[in-house]
C-alpha cells in the first residue's frame, strides 16, 4: 500500500474477495454443462466501475466456485494456467487497481504445486485462492501437504474460499444458505486436526466468508486437535485439554478473516471478539454481491469496525 496520506474520499479499500469470470473459464464451464445462466455478468470494466463507486482502491481477483478443477486433472492444469495468465495481464494493464489470487488445479498434486511456483515466482501474483473442498477432497487433508509446503515456503497469502459439497452428497444442492459457509469450517477443522497450521506457519491465511463459522466455534473445533492426536482416549487427554484449553482459540486468532457476510451486528460481534482489527480484511464478493449491497455493507462495517488510531484512516483493517 502507498504510504502517502489519503484524502477521506479517495478510494482506500483493498478488496481481497473479488471474483473474476474470465471468458476462457465461462467457456470451460459451459462445455461441462454448468449452469452459466446463473452466473452474474462480469467484465473488468464492471469491476472498476464498482470499485470507483464504493471506494475500493485495489481488488485481488480470483476465480469463484467451483474453481479450475471441473472433473479432469489435465484440463484443470490448462484452465488454471489460462485463468492465471488472464488475471496477470489485467494486473499488468492496471497495476494500481488489480492484483490476482492464483487458481490452482487442486486436487491434482503435481499440477497444483507446479502452478504455485509458476504463478508466485514467474508471474509474481499476489497469492492464491484455495477452495475448501473439491469433490470431497479437503484442503487440510495430509495428502495435499506438498501444496501447502510450497505455499508455506513462499509465505503466500491464501484465501480459503468455500466450495459446494461433493455432487454425490445427498445434501449437496440443498443448503447454500448454511452448508456453503460451513464448508470453510470443515477445511479449517482438518487443518487443526492434522496440525497443518502448526507445521506450516508461514502461510498468511485469509478465511473467506469470515471463516464460515470458525469464529463462532473456534474453541469447539480446537478440541479436535487433542482428541484426534490422542486417539480419543479421553482419560489421557483430559489433562492435556485442561492445560491447553485455548489451543483451538489460539490457532483461530492467528489468521485473518474477510468481511463477506459480516455486515450484521451478530457476526461482527463474534469476529471483533476473536481478532484484532488488523486481521480483518475487507472483501466484497463482487460480482455475486451487487454494487448496492456492497455499498450498504461498507456503511455497516464502518460502524462495526471503527478506524484504528494507528492505521492511516482506513475504515477497516486492510493491510495485506
Amino acid at each position: 500500500m502507498s504510504s502517502k496520506k489519503k484524502t477521506p474520499n479517495a478510494p482506500t479499500l483493498l478488496d481481497v474477495h473479488h471474483h473474476m469470470v474470465p471468458p476462457v473459464y465461462l467457456q470451460a464451464l459451459a462445455k461441462k454443462g454448468g449452469d452459466i445462466e446463473g452466473l452474474p455478468e462480469w467484465t473488468p470494466e464492471r469491476s472498476l466501475r464498482m470499485m470507483d463507486r464504493v471506494g475500493v482502491e485495489k481488488a485481488l481477483l480470483s476465480l469463484s466456485p467451483p474453481g479450475a478443477w471441473l472433473g479432469n486433472d489435465e484440463e484443470a492444469v490448462r484452465l488454471a494456467r489460462a485463468c492465471n495468465e488472464f488475471g496477470a495481464s489485467l494486473a499488468e494493464e492496471h497495476p494500481d487497481r488489480f492484483g490476482v489470487l492464483a487458481a490452482l488445479p487442486f486436487p491434482d498434486l503435481e499440477g497444483a504445486t507446479a502452478e504455485v511456483a509458476y504463478t508466485l515466482d514467474t508471474l509474481k501474483l499476489d497469492g492464491v485462492i484455495l477452495f475448501s473442498n473439491v469433490q470431497g477432497k479437503y484442503v487440510g487433508d495430509p495428502e495435499f501437504d506438498p501444496i501447502i509446503a510450497e505455499l508455506d515456503e513462499r509465505q503466500a497469502m491464501v484465501l480459503l474460499h468455500p466450495n459446494s459439497m461433493p455432487d454425490d452428497d445427498e445434501n449437496a444442492a440443498l443448503y447454500p444458505w448454511a452448508e456453503y459457509p460451513i464448508d470453510v469450517a470443515r477445511a479449517w477443522a482438518r487443518m487443526v486436526l492434522n496440525d497443518t497450521l502448526v507445521r506450516y506457519p508461514g502461510i498468511r491465511w485469509i478465511l473467506g466468508h469470515a471463516g464460515g463459522v470458525v469464529p463462532f466455534m473456534a474453541e469447539r473445533l480446537g478440541k479436535a486437535h487433542y482428541a484426534k492426536l490422542n486417539g480419543l482416549r479421553w482419560g489421557r487427554i483430559l489433562k492435556d485439554l485442561f492445560l491447553k484449553r485455548h489451543g483451538g482459540l489460539k490457532l483461530a486468532k492467528g489468521v485473518s478473516y474477510d468481511t463477506v457476510g459480516v455486515a450484521n451486528p451478530v457476526s461482527s460481534a463474534a469476529l471483533r471478539h476473536l481478532v484484532d482489527p488488523d486481521q480483518i480484511r475487507f472483501g466484497t464478493n463482487f460480482p455475486w454481491e451487487s454494487e448496492e449491497s456492497i455499498e450498504a455493507s461498507i456503511r455497516s462495517l464502518a460502524d462495526a469496525f471503527p478506524p484504528s488510531q494507528t492505521d492511516d484512516a482506513r475504515p477497516i483493517g486492510i493491510g495485506a
Partner: protein
Amino acid sequence: MAEKNHRIDLHYHIVPKPYVEVLVDRGIHGPTNFRFPAWTPEKALKHMDRNRTRAAVTSLSSPGVWFGDVGLARRLSRLCNEFQAQMNADYPGRFGSLAFLPLPDVNGALAELEYALDQLEHDGVVLLTDTEGCYLGDPEYEELFAELNRRRAVVFIHPHDDPVRERRYDLFSPLLEWPVHTTRAVMDLLYSGRLERYPNIRYILAHGGGSVPYLAHRIASGLGHEGPSQGGDSAVGGDLGIGTPSPERIEHGIGLLKRLYYDTASPGQAHLAALQEFVGPDQLVFGTDGGWTPPIQTAQTIDELMAYDGFDPSELSAVERGNALSLFPRLAQGETLSLAQSA
C-alpha cells in the same frame, strides 16, 4: 462455608444403565466416536454439586431410541421417561426432565407425549434434530407440532448422530457436524413455516444454536426456498445473491430466530458475544452438556461463561438460573424443597 448451589442446568444428559444394556445387547455401544459412559444419577448429583448446579433438567441424547424398530423405540422411550420420573421423585428439587419421543413413529410419539407430560409430569420434551433423515420440518410431524403448540411445550432441540455423514467427513463428529445438524433442523422449521405457524412452542437450541446466530442473516435469506424435508430446491450454484427475498422478509425471518432460547453449552467468548448481540441475556440459558461431557470440560464451559465480561450481575443471574425458572416454574418450587433438604 461453601457457596450455595444456584445454577439451573438445562442441558444435562441421562445415560440410564437399563437403556445401555438393551443397546449393548444389540451391538450398539454409543454414537459414532463415543462409547456410553458409566453413568448414574448419584454421579450426576456429585457433578452438579461441583458445578454449583442446584437443579438439572435431564434429557436423553443421541443415539436416541430409533434403530428401525417401532416396538423397541416405544419401549426405550418409556424406559427412559420412567427412569427420569423416578429421579425426579428420588431427589426432589434436584432434577427436572424432558421426555423422549419414539420418532419417526408419530402415533407412538403422540401417545408418549401425553403419558410423559400428563402422567409422569415431565417439564417438556427433547427432540433430536433428525431421525432417519427426517428433519423437524417434516410434513409427517405436523400433528405432533400442533399438539406441542397446544400444550405450549418447551422443546429442547439436540443434535443426532448421523453415522453416514460422520464417516464421510471424518471429523470428530460432535465438534462440527453435530452443531450443523442443529442448524439444518432450525432452517427446516423456518423454511417449512412451522416456526411461524406454532408460535407457542418455546424452543431451546443446544450448543448455543449450532451456527444459527452466526449465520442468521444468511439463513433468513433462504426464506421462500425449501428446507431438507420439502426436498430442497435451493441450488443456486453454491453462492448467494441470486433470488434473495426482500429486506423486510429477511428481517422477519431473523425475528423468528430471535424468539428462540439458546444454551451456553459450547464454550467460547466470541460465541457468547454473538449470542448476546443476537438475543440478549433473557434468552440465554445455562447448559453444560453434562452426563456425556466429562467434568473437566463442563468446568471449562462454566469458566468461559464466568470470564465473559459482557453481562452485568443481574444479566448473568438470568442466564445461570432466572430464565430457566421462568421456563420451568416447577423448578422454582423445588428451590425450597432442596434448601430444606440440605439444611
